[in-house]
């Protein structure tokens, strides 16, 4: 087996050095009833070529986004990732290292994490960010739990504009510890509705902008209302590129930002791995979940970086930790930070504008189709339309024509009664030809 360096002679010599007669001597502690002789019922060793053929055949059955006109979003976005990104993240020193437990030989990782934290803080308009969580949805759950610790209150008011899967992932976790959630009904322009629901027991208000229907909202007034009631405002962002064009959550008064960073540097990957961005205000640092990198000096006074404030974390605090998270999204943060360094502010703003323009063009094209009603008034790169037919059926028929037309809202929330709503996203990869193809194919099936 090509990954196993020991030869039969090595094994014999090593057993002799140990003083064991056979490998079975090393497994004596396994109860006899649980020892298995022979191989489990699975195929035997396979060469590279065989594995490539088998997996290549599976990959070949899928329709890759890059091979068709593509308009899917709803929390995962296809952007162009510069070639440099994927090259650098495959360098051995990044790919095959682990959590920087020994900072003297992990400054490469620690420095990029420190740069990542600064980029995320500036992008979200917040004072501090952590070194990542698993994804945007788990970041939202962690945000709600953190808000309950900070406020010592027990209820989260969640806007009807928050991605239904984010709500489900959050409720699954926070209900287990008795945190109450109030989720308002889904609506395209739902965010302001939360204001009327804030009460003295509200730990946090969760809003999303742009929301799952694409609506971009100025949440400043929501922040004011939350703060007046002693609650925190959590702003969810599922499309990180939007912050290159829209007012940042920090600017609008967010206390916690829980965002999905996949859009920058990371492929679609059928939903994972992605990278959760988590940022907050300075005074809340010690209640934050996840790893943090901080600046310090070495014994010679040279600047260096270390993991810090680990007394919040599970390996020190065990059952008193702020979260159970250990391994996070290391390599995805590297992809994010490289892509962001290449873009810079100039590139990010331009990229964001191009996204917006592509979406506006797509909207304008679809708006002319009879029976299609555009629902989202102000959006970044994604909007909702109402179709005269169930969106799932339309999407399937367009897929047969090799067009991936978007995400039916009903796929996210089957019981919301919005089966005729389709979420359509466009990015810098969307061409005029793609838009024309979508429009004409839609015209045929509607």
């Amino acid at each position: 087996m090509r990954y196993l360096p020991l030869t039969p002679d090595d094994r014999s010599a090593m057993l002799a050095a140990i003083g064991a007669k056979s490998i079975d001597d090393l497994f004596v502690d396994v109860p006899a009833a649980a020892r298995r002789e022979g191989f489990v019922d699975l195929p035997r060793v396979a060469g590279e070529l065989e594995v490539e053929r088998a997996l290549g055949a599976m990959a070949g059955k899928n329709v890759a986004a890059g091979s068709v006109p593509f308009f899917c979003g709803a929390g995962a976005y296809k952007h162009h990732v510069p070639a440099t990104v994927d090259h650098v993240i495959q360098r051995s020193e990044f790919l095959t290292s682990y959590t920087p437990y020994q900072p003297e030989i992990a400054q490469g990782t620690l420095q990029y994490l420190y740069e990542f934290q600064t980029q995320v803080a500036n992008l979200t308009g917040m004072p501090v960010a952590n070194a990542s969580l698993y994804d945007g949805s788990t970041a939202m759950a962690e945000g709600v739990l953190m808000a309950t610790r900070v406020t010592r209150r027990n209820k989260a008011v969640i806007s009807g504009g928050v991605h239904p899967h984010y709500v489900a992932a959050t409720e699954t976790v926070v209900h287990a510890v008795g945190v109450e959630t109030q989720v308002l009904s889904a609506a395209v322009d739902a965010e302001a509705e939360v204001i009327g629901q804030i009460g003295p027991d509200t730990a946090c208000v969760v809003v999303q902008t742009p929301n799952v229907f694409g609506t971009a909202t100025d949440v400043t007034k929501i922040a004011e209302a939350a703060h007046a009631a002693g609650a925190l405002l959590i702003v969810v962002v599922t499309e990180a590129v939007s912050m290159g064009l829209l007012k940042s959550p920090g600017e609008m008064g967010a206390d916690i930002v829980a965002a999905e960073g996949q859009s920058i540097g990371n492929a679609l990957n059928f939903g994972g791995p992605y990278v959760g961005l988590f940022a907050t205000r300075e005074k809340l640092i010690r209640q934050m979940p996840g790893r943090l990198t901080g600046e310090t000096v070495d014994a010679d006074g040279e600047r260096g970086f270390v993991l810090t404030l680990s007394t919040r974390e599970q390996h020190i605090r065990r059952d008193k930790a702020t979260s159970n998270i250990c391994t996070n999204s290391g390599l995805c943060t590297l992809a994010f930070t490289i892509h962001m360094s290449l873009l810079g502010e100039t590139g990010l703003r331009r990229l964001a504008l191009l996204n917006h323009e592509a979406a506006v063009k797509t909207r304008d094209a679809l708006a002319t189709l009879p029976g299609v009603e555009v629902l989202t008034p102000r959006f970044f790169n994604e909007f909702a339309v109402r179709l005269p037919k169930p969106a799932t059926e339309v999407v399937e028929r367009l897929a047969e024509r090799r067009i991936l037309a978007g995400v039916p809202y009903g796929r996210l929330a089957p019981s919301a009664g919005m089966d005729d709503v389709l979420l359509v996203a466009a990015t810098e990869i969307t061409t005029d030809a793609d838009i024309a193809a979508l429009k004409s194919a839609l015209a045929e099936v509607l």
Partner: protein, 525 residues
């Protein structure tokens, strides 16, 4: 005598005093560059991505548009490449040398897996595309599930947890849901966790709202069954036991432990971080396990990536299977489909753990790894991993003190700091001196139950030659410590990119981000 080539260039080194040392004038050291932060470059207006000029200004968005500077420097492509390559050279990596972090299973990461994960049919598909357009992806998930279930002897698996700790969360949520279904949740509020457990175990139990009760350990490094039995009762929801445990030992009484647990009406959560030691030889399903997470980034070689992404699928027993979270793949003969909601036939599912279907990129890599090994190769993995650890233990035990000298260890060899007594050298000092010798230290000060613990996990992908090189270095260092060469340890590392870092200072007044120096006009937050 110096020799010269034809243009007068000396071709032998000058004879100089070998002890002459001086700091360099620039901070660089040979191949190691002194690399500044991206924020300290001159790239505030630069970009390394050529994009077309946008036509509009997004005036349709009015006052929603971000006006203030964001504070993101840009780098041209060559500058970016240098920045990250320079940083990379300050990292230790498996591809450089043995990385014997106990409990982390730092094994070789096959590049075939990277290649497979990057096939557009896997990397460039959207989680919410019509399922008719991702049949191959669902087939891959179904195949992965089949391998995991077969290897563990368990009937079900939840793929979506994103790392080991997330898998623990999944397992405990399933256990909680099972108790709720039986109407016993209100009284079962405790989770029993051995003192040697990973920190994630008690953290997860607390995260889900359970009270953690510690179980004592025996002299020989195993769960104290009598103590466990005395704490089991109608108020216990589950036990969380790592097997092989964090001392690198197989729990000999594991069948008794699971029997007692089930008798008390509780469930057995197994932390599968150490599955690498037994894959292909022991099936957790035969040990009475009800739920166990599998770190694909440990046993199944998906890269650790500087701290993730991981993946933590959880295998489940018949009793817990109905409570698995959405989504999962169903194969109905016609093809594959995703069950995405805790509704209809899936009403007992405890909910959802993340926005989409989990770590697809890791699934591809793990399946590529498993298919490459096959059932024969995987059994060999466990045997070689255990052999390597026992070899390290055998060859170091005359100089260092094994925490549990009796009997074989499994995939990791655990030493305490008894042998350092009187030397003034601590486990930390010893670890830092290993860095000078070119090795990544073992896991230190864990498990907590062993004083000054040094936990060495070589994995099966180390050759005998590399093990011998490592062992010789460890022996030389151990002898130096015993010989009173304290300076070598106290100041270490001397030869790493940085000297020992001040962690206390970092925590006392945290600086977690770069900020523009006072008086500069650079855009920052």
């Amino acid at each position: 005598m110096s020799t010269m080539n034809t243009v007068g260039r000396p071709t032998t080194p000058n004879a100089v005093d070998h002890d002459y040392k001086h700091p360099t004038l620039t901070g660089g050291r040979g191949l190691l560059q002194d690399e500044h932060l991206i924020f300290e470059s001159d790239g505030w207006g630069k970009t390394g991505v050529d994009l077309p000029e946008p036509k509009g200004d997004a005036s349709d968005l009015g006052d929603l548009v971000r006006r203030d500077p964001i504070g993101l420097p840009g780098l041209s492509e060559p500058e970016a490449m240098r920045h990250y390559v320079r940083l990379s050279q300050k990292n230790h990596a498996i591809d450089l040398a043995i990385y014997p972090l106990g409990s982390c299973t730092m094994k070789h990461n096959p590049r075939l897996n990277e290649k497979m994960a990057r096939l557009p049919g896997f990397s460039d598909i959207h989680p919410l595309q019509p399922q008719s357009t991702v049949q191959g992806a669902l087939e891959l998930m179904d195949q992965l599930a089949h391998w995991l279930k077969t290897l563990t002897g368990m009937p079900a698996v939840a793929l979506s947890p994103k790392a080991g700790a997330h898998g623990e969360l999944c397992g405990l949520m399933a256990i909680r849901a099972a108790h709720e279904a039986k109407g016993e949740h209100a009284q079962r509020r405790k989770v029993l966790v051995p003192t040697s457990a990973h920190g994630t175990n008690p953290a997860t139990a607390a995260f889900v709202g359970y009270t953690v009760v510690e179980v004592a350990q025996t002299e020989d490094g195993r769960v104290d069954v009598a103590d466990l039995a005395s704490k089991l009762g109608p108020d216990v929801a589950a036990i969380m036991v790592t097997n092989p445990n964090t001392c690198g030992l197989f729990e000999r009484d594991i069948l008794e432990i699971s029997r007692l647990t089930h008798e008390a009406g509780a469930y057995f959560y197994c932390d599968g971080a150490n599955f690498n030691a037994i894959v292909g030889r022991v099936r957790p399903g035969d040990l009475g396990v009800d739920a166990m997470h599998i770190n694909l980034h440990k046993t199944f070689s998906t890269p650790h990536g500087g701290g993730g992404p991981g993946a933590g699928p959880v295998v489940l027993s018949e009793a817990l299977a109905p409570f698995a979270p959405a989504p999962w793949v169903v194969s109905d003969g016609e093809g594959f489909r995703l069950e995405e909601f805790a509704e209809g036939e899936a009403t007992q599912a405890f909910g959802r753990l993340c926005a989409f279907h989990g770590q697809m990129g890791m699934y591809v890599r793990a399946l590529s790894y498993m298919m490459s090994h096959g059932s024969d190769g995987l059994r060999q993995v466990a045997e070689d991993a255990v052999l390597n650890a026992n070899y390290v233990k055998a060859r170091l035990q005359d100089l260092m003190s094994p925490a549990f000298p009796e009997g074989p260890c499994m995939h990791e060899a655990l030493f305490d700091d008894e042998w350092l007594k009187g030397t003034e050298v601590t486990t930390l000092d010893f670890a830092k001196a290993m860095i000078d010798e070119g090795f990544h230290p073992m896991t230190m000060y864990f498990p907590l139950v062993v004083h000054g613990a040094m936990l060495i996990e070589p994995t099966e992908t180390e050759s005998k030659q590399e093990l011998d090189r490592f062992i010789e270095a460890m022996r030389a260092l151990a002898q130096a410590a015993k010989a009173g060469d304290v300076e070598r340890f106290k100041g270490a590392p001397f030869h790493a990119p940085l000297r020992r870092l001040d962690e206390t200072r970092a925590a006392r007044s945290p600086v977690l981000r770069w900020t523009a120096p006072e008086g500069s006009n650079i855009a920052a937050e």
